[in-house]
Amino acid sequence: MKGPMSSAPNTQSIPQASASWWTRLANPTRFMALAGRLIPWLAALTLIAGAIGLYLGFSAPEDYQQGATVQIMFIHVPSAWLAMMCYSVMSISALGTLVWRHPLADVSLRAAAPIGAAFTLLALITGSLWGKPMWGTWWVWDARLTSVLILFLIYLGLMALSRAIEDPVQAAKPLAIVTLVGFVNIPIIKFSVDWWNTLHQPASVSRFGRPTLDAVFLYPLLTMAIAFTLLFFTLHLMNMRNEILARRIRVMKLKQAGN
């Protein structure tokens, strides 16, 4: 039983004495201010990195096998990576809710879910667009594709869950637990490419898997990956601010109604 409410003597929330950055972040007002200052910089960096990445990407030579479609890679691969990274961020946030009881962890989890779903959808769509010319079909049920689809399902399930419980405070724990359970899917996506594939993954995929990727492809890819990561953090901070504001509005409404 704990009561991190108000300044009651038995409060077990974040100790007041140690004013580390972590503790200070626990205060949403300070977080709002900090995020407000960070977002423009992050957004600017995202734009710069994105512009460089796109330039490098489009000036890259056509692949002798894949032709122009190789350019899809510069969107596809970063968004696939981000889809997984976003889920990892959510899982850490879930730990933050359950173990460290950080007040912003739940806000971060909720804010990340739609972004993750969007990146996953982007990876699915770009993958499909790439698959049509490469494999002759939009979709195959191989391990990697399917596990990404399941990741998408889990994202949607989490969003449905967070919508289903009206009070965000009550939704926090279930959300965190389901998020953690769903994390098993991430290593599955990453490692067990041949865990369940009766239809073979074409060589064109694993060809790039080895570090033999030519520098003309590697650098634009890495730049785009950096741009996507920055984009993620920008969106995440923005969404967290929105979430905090939404909760404040909710409280204000309740206050108004309660008097």
């Binding site: 704990k2 038995n10 007002t29 009070d167 405070v169 409280v251 309740l254 309660g258 008097n259």
Partner: protein, 220 residues
């Protein structure tokens, strides 16, 4: 055995509903919690049972050994009779009561027959619970307190739906429980007739959390 609350507070949906409530009840004591609708009686009672977290303060059931200051542990010595009756419509009255007796694991309660006699419903034992009228259902729910023996009764409007004769029966049962060394805490709008009961008058609060505290609402 003593049941003590030391300035406890409870929040509900971003609002402080119970603020700084303290009491200390010894064996044989009774406490009636009164107050207008929405004053926070049910909230307080749920918090006493560990069903809602405390926002501040401590609870203690002295004399039950380990875990006497953790509601999540000592609540196994409490009986909570909430607004719902906790009975399955599909089972007969006897099956329902037998389940709660066996499951609660405490011995020394009344026999089911005796308990039903005490609420003057000896003839319904084998009826499906769903066949009973509102007040009869409530009286069966009261039998749950009798068939398994626990020292503290926490009852939320126990006599709602009861006719006046049954209400008096219930008062008698409470007095008997107190005389037996038990403790009764009852939220009620109607006087329960518990004689020397302490009274706790709840007042509706209008304290909202300020600033950003709401991030740690009730489940934090």
């Amino acid at each position: 055995m003593r049941f003590e609350a030391d300035s406890i507070s409870v929040n509900r949906g971003l609002r402080r509903v119970v603020q700084d409530v303290s009491f200390s009840l010894g064996e044989g004591d009774a406490l009636t919690v009164t107050g207008a609708n929405g004053a926070g009686k049910s909230t307080l009672l749920r918090a006493l049972c560990g069903l809602l977290p405390l926002a501040a303060g401590t609870l203690r059931l002295a004399g039950v050994g380990e875990g006497e200051d953790d509601p999540l542990i000592f609540r196994e010595h409490l009986h909570y009779l909430g607004p719902q009756n906790a009975m399955k419509a599909a089972l007969s009255v006897r099956e329902n009561l037998a389940f709660w007796r066996d499951f609660s694991g405490s011995s020394g309660g009344m026999a089911i027959k005796a308990a039903l006699n005490a609420v003057e419903l000896p003839h319904v034992a084998d009826l499906p619970y769903s066949y009973l009228s509102t007040g009869m259902k409530r009286r069966v729910a009261i039998c749950r307190l009798l068939v398994s023996k626990k020292p503290v009764w926490i009852v939320d409007e126990p006599t709602s739906g009861l006719d006046s004769h049954s209400s008096e029966l219930f008062s008698g049962l409470c007095r008997a429980h107190c005389a037996d060394g038990g403790i009764v805490i009852a939220a009620t709008h109607l006087p329960l007739g518990l004689g020397k009961a302490q009274t706790l008058e709840m007042k509706t609060l209008f304290t909202f959390f300020e600033g950003d505290e709401f991030f740690d609402g009730e489940n934090a």
